[in-house]
Symmetry: C2
Subunit: 214 residues, 2 copies
Amino acid sequence: MRIPKHIGIIPDGNRRWAVKNGFSKEMGYEKGLKPGIKVFELCSKIGVKELTFYGFTMDNTKRPSIQTKAFTKACIKAVELLSNKDASLLVVGNTDSPMFPKELLPYTNNRKTFGRGGIKVNFLVNYGWQWDVKNLINNQSNSNNVIGLLHSQDISRIDLVIRWGGRKRLSGFLPLQTVYSDFYFIDDYWPDFKEEHFYQAIEWYNKQDITLGG
Amino acid sequence: MRIPKHIGIIPDGNRRWAVKNGFSKEMGYEKGLKPGIKVFELCSKIGVKELTFYGFTMDNTKRPSIQTKAFTKACIKAVELLSNKDASLLVVGNTDSPMFPKELLPYTNNRKTFGRGGIKVNFLVNYGWQWDVKNLINNQSNSNNVIGLLHSQDISRIDLVIRWGGRKRLSGFLPLQTVYSDFYFIDDYWPDFKEEHFYQAIEWYNKQDITLGG
């Protein structure tokens, strides 16, 4: 079986899950923590080498502050939970903004090893696609590797993007690392994560003809 | 009904169609011409303002020359057919390469009006996502509009991408104009185009909640 080297996760539908279950919207984010750790564990188990989570974006920070506080708190908590595992974490996002949580600054410049290390985990926090790509402007490089010039240069090409919550779009998720990615969409909301979702995505990916645009 | 302003078309599956129908692979491209004109007419009819077709990419030119000749010929023929319609055409791609057909050079620098003009048609010919984005490097601009600095700067944000041929990926299609696009995937091969495909995509798009990443 061909296991994707690098999986991107778009964990959408937290707010819709909350409303559907009788909570206020911002209550949905905390319900995304357990699925996140579960996906991490499944990826470690099957031998995925790199895993990127869409935390929150600069676009998202325009939402009501009760929501921005709730998703920021959930991101900090996610890193706490991960710190008890074996992983190598990098947080990527615009740190020159009050919306970036200072608790996560220690993870932004260098990849931090938790436990025995292992799978690379990238966590997008206050990420913006324009912010990311603007690092190319005024760059003096002659490199042919465009990705190596981005703010997100330590995040490699993504093989498989899995998005929960029924929407079929990238919403600004790493536009240059996803140019050749295969997309797997799941209707269920992220807090309703089931292991089957993950395994179905992996089985589907195994059947795709990978050409990298060729 | 909310009609997308700008639709992107990924007309995939020509070679698989040819093989399935007992032809050699390169015979499939010509069968994509009629569907292309049909989509153009449907877009004009319902009031789409801009339409972008994925012709061929720099990645594609690594294929056997019998195929590259066939898809290049089909692209030239497509422009001939369009020249009998009311449209405003721009061809976008890397012209500094022998793979770019000289017949299409007149359409690369300025948008050319056919008939009474009208819908903007962008045609990607020998397009490469790295080529496109590299225009940002060494750019002296202070602009906040990243898309305006690309080689493809005259192509605007895309609302809806429709891909035929069953694959769920972008394959390098305008990575920055598609950051917020909704994706509609059709299993049928492009030469098996039916009007229903198009109308189903439009109806599906009408039901999406458009947030532009917010």
